[in-house]
């Protein structure tokens, strides 16, 4: 008995000292990839590994318009150097205003590069480990690598692992461990689709849109605001990493799309069974191999080019939704015009949001069609679905919550460009009149206050009763 106790405590102690073993985070594969035949799956896996790396060893593919963080160096003179192998060097830091070398390294010559282990900014003393072997004299020039190439991507990764991974998942698939408790679900970035953007309905999200989401959070969902956590460089780094994950996911999906036509598991079985084609599995593999040999480099290159151009275009002022007219005062007339439009055949807002705006329009009771199914298959349950295949409810306009922001311009953009990846369409082109959109905005923004004047009792109790009378 006693022996067992000792053994148990010894075991616990060991576990406490060593931690829970080595933990390695990994990018997971999309379902579409694992549905390919194993040979095709391997090719996708290899390409992803080559161009994006692993979470621990990221690759910044320069093709994409993502700021991975360029190397930053500064050349300084040695003030004093202790001969011993102590690794202590005093530098003249007067020339460098931001003398922060933590995590950097010191380059004595091309071959001799030493990691800086600690450093005191005020005196310019740096310590390297192991000690420095080179002979240095006072006045010698050394190069300090303040930030290694790709530092921004790595910073973004570190911040992502700290703040976001438990919801959005390591690969940005929206399947972190907390995701199962949340509604709506965290965004799966891998489609490259983001809901709340300032760009027209056909374009991707701009950096500023992702930054706004991170700054304000998404009200009414569990997506928090990071305005107190992501300050300065960190915000940019975070946005860059989200774009990195989105591009990675989209790149994978596009390759899956290319290969899936002929080489998904289902298609391969069908082809083998097909009497007319008379082909064996081995022959399909051969066919695939020769296709890869001739086409892969071009395929990868063109896929990346398309993606890069898409993301780049989103930043352009030409695709930004900017009202051509200022917002008119929300007069009763403007609101009434908005209401009429809301109910009209041109917009059909009421079909989704309901005649009274409670989000209970008739489409919420109809069976929606699954996208990309021929012949059309409908979802098992009635209601609307988003592009990720999750049920989605049109907003209850009385709630006064606007996920994409509550400034008039935010709501203008939602109505003009729609909410991407959801059934909420954009009306910028079909209405083609910013005045009409502003009327809709004025109407939408007035809905939460419709009942303010009536005598509806507020459900909450004011705690004036706390007072002893």
């Amino acid at each position: 008995m006693k022996f067992r106790n000792i053994l148990l405590s010894a075991g616990l102690l060991c576990a406490a000292l060593t931690g829970c073993g080595e933990f390695k985070s990994e990018f997971s594969l999309n379902e579409k990839t694992t549905n390919l035949m194993p040979e095709a799956e391997d090719v996708v896996k290899e390409q992803l590994h080559e161009y994006f790396g692993t979470p621990e060893d990221l690759v910044g593919w320069l093709k994409f318009p993502i700021d991975y963080g360029a190397e930053e160096t500064v050349t300084l003179r040695v003030k004093s150097f202790e001969e011993s192998a102590s690794g202590k060097i005093v530098l003249d830091v007067a020339a460098d205003e931001q003398a922060d070398y933590q995590g950097g390294s010191i380059k004595v010559s091309e071959e001799e590069i030493y990691q800086i282990s600690s450093h005191d900014p005020s005196s310019g003393t740096v310590f390297v480990k192991p000690g420095i072997e080179a002979k240095l004299k006072t006045g010698d020039e050394v190069t300090i690598v303040k930030r290694h190439g790709g530092w921004k991507l790595k910073r973004g990764r570190n911040l992502y692992m700290k703040h976001c991974v438990h919801c959005h998942g390591v690969s940005g698939d929206g399947e972190g461990p907390t995701a199962q408790y949340l509604s709506p679900l965290p965004r799966d970035y891998r489609k490259g689709v983001f809901k709340f953007t300032s760009t027209i309905s056909t374009e991707k999200a701009a950096r500023r849109d992702l930054a706004q989401t991170l700054y304000e959070g998404i009200q009414g969902t569990s997506m928090p605001s990071f305005k107190l956590k992501l300050i300065g460089d960190d915000m940019e780094a975070m946005v860059g990493y989200v774009r990195f994950l989105a591009t990675r996911g989209e790149f994978e999906l596009r390759l899956d799309g290319e290969f899936g036509v002929d080489y998904s598991k289902d298609v391969v079985t069908r082809r083998i069974k097909d009497e007319d084609e008379k082909i064996t599995r081995q022959e399909i593999i051969e066919e695939f191999r020769s296709m890869i040999e001739s086409d892969l480099p071009d395929l990868v290159d063109s896929t990346a080019t398309i993606l890069a151009e898409d993301w780049e275009r989103a930043e352009s002022p030409d695709v930004m939704v900017v009202p051509k007219k200022p917002r008119p005062e929300p007069t009763p007339e403007s609101i009434a015009r908005g209401r009429a439009l809301y109910l009209s055949k041109d917009t059909k807002c009421a079909d989704c949001h309901g005649v009274t705006g409670y989000g209970d329009g008739k489409q919420t009771e109809e069976y929606a069609q699954m996208p990309g199914t021929t012949p059309p298959i409908t979802y098992a349950k009635p209601g609307l679905y988003d592009d990720w295949g999750h049920p989605i409810k049109p907003r209850n306009l009385h709630s006064g919550m606007y996920r994409g922001g509550r400034r008039p311009i935010d709501i203008f953009r939602r109505i003009s460009a729609g909410i991407k990846g959801t059934p909420m369409p954009g009306f910028g082109t079909s209405l083609n009149d910013d005045g009409k959109i502003w009327d809709l905005v004025n109407y939408v923004m007035s809905v939460p206050y419709e009942n303010n004047s009536s005598e509806i009792k507020h459900a909450e109790k004011e705690v004036a009763e706390h007072t002893v009378k």
Binding site: T178, Y181, S198, R208, A211, Q212, Y215, E216, G217, Q219, S222, P224, S225, K227, L228, M235, P317, M320, V321, V322, P323, K324, K325, P326, R327, P330, G400, G405, R406, R407, P408, I409, F412, R413, M445, S446, P448, Y449, N452, H458, A459, E460, K461, E462, V463, A464, H466, T467, V468
Partner: protein, 272 residues
């Protein structure tokens, strides 16, 4: 070995006092001085309690050590069974009762000044600066438009932010505290203030800071898995900065994106 146990029990009071003594220099103590009068009074109450428990703790520890020491020297003899001693029972019922009664009466004044609405400073009693709604896991804040009073029901011209409460320095302010889901607790450690936010209730909370600066708002009630990150920031600033802040917030809330030049419309919100 017998003497060891005596010493063992004597060491604890010494260790405890030493630890309390060095704590302030390691920043293990309060998060800075209390920023207002009532905060200081709460600190005083804390110190009073600390002194009471220190005296009791040292006393019991010394008594324990003494008894053990005596016992370790005694070669023979029987233990004295105190069980059922009427006098002892009376003493250790009445003594703590007196202490507790004293504490509860002594703190009454401070408690009343924080909690009772008729004790609130007159200028804030009916005039909240903001409504703070706790929600898993954030603080949603609603201000009235500059120059207006905060109404119980949201108004079209109200201003909204998240995790970011601004108040003017050196004068009392009152907020309406509510919860949108579960029970939370609005904690301002630098002001020594905390108040539970209870679903279904709107609780008035008043406080004041006499020093400008940025201070933490924390949730002090375990409210779910994200409790630990339910943080906000209290910015205490000069009256004119405060007014400018509200003005700026109002401009942001009314932003219609129309300026002619698209480059300028890029999210006002991203500049702090």
């Amino acid at each position: 070995m017998r003497k060891f146990w005596c010493l063992f029990f004597m060491v604890w009071p010494i260790l405890a006092i030493w630890l309390c003594w060095i704590s302030p220099s390691y920043n293990w103590w309060f998060p800075g001085d209390a920023l207002w009068k009532l905060g200081e009074q709460i600190d005083d109450l804390f110190y009073l309690l600390l002194i009471v428990v220190t005296v009791v703790f040292i006393g019991t520890q010394l008594a324990l050590g003494y008894v053990l020491w005596k016992g370790s020297e005694a070669k023979t003899g029987h233990a004295w069974f105190s069980h059922g001693s009427h006098n002892l029972e009376v003493i250790w019922t009445i003594l703590p009762a007196i202490i507790l009664l004293f504490i509860s009466l002594y703190q009454m004044d401070v408690l009343a000044r924080i909690r009772l609405k008729q004790e609130f400073p007159e200028q804030v009693a009916n005039d909240p600066v903001a409504e703070v709604s706790a929600r898993q896991f954030e603080w949603r804040i609603r201000y009235p438009a500059p120059g207006k009073k905060l109404r119980a029901l949201p108004q079209p011209d109200d201003l909204y932010t998240v995790n970011d409460l601004h108040i003017p320095v050196g004068k009392p302010v009152m907020i309406r505290l509510r919860s949108e889901d579960v029970q939370h607790s609005f904690g301002l450690p630098h002001l020594r203030l905390m108040q539970d936010a209870v679903p279904g209730l709107v609780i008035p909370v008043w406080f004041q800071s006499n020093k400008v600066g940025k201070y933490e708002i924390v949730c002090k009630e375990l409210c779910g898995w994200g409790h630990y990150k339910m943080q906000g920031e209290l910015t205490v600033e000069l009256e004119e900065d405060y007014n400018a802040y509200l003005q700026e917030l109002q401009e942001k809330m009314n932003d219609d994106g129309y300026s002619g030049d698209p480059a300028e419309t890029v999210a006002l919100s991203n500049e702090d």
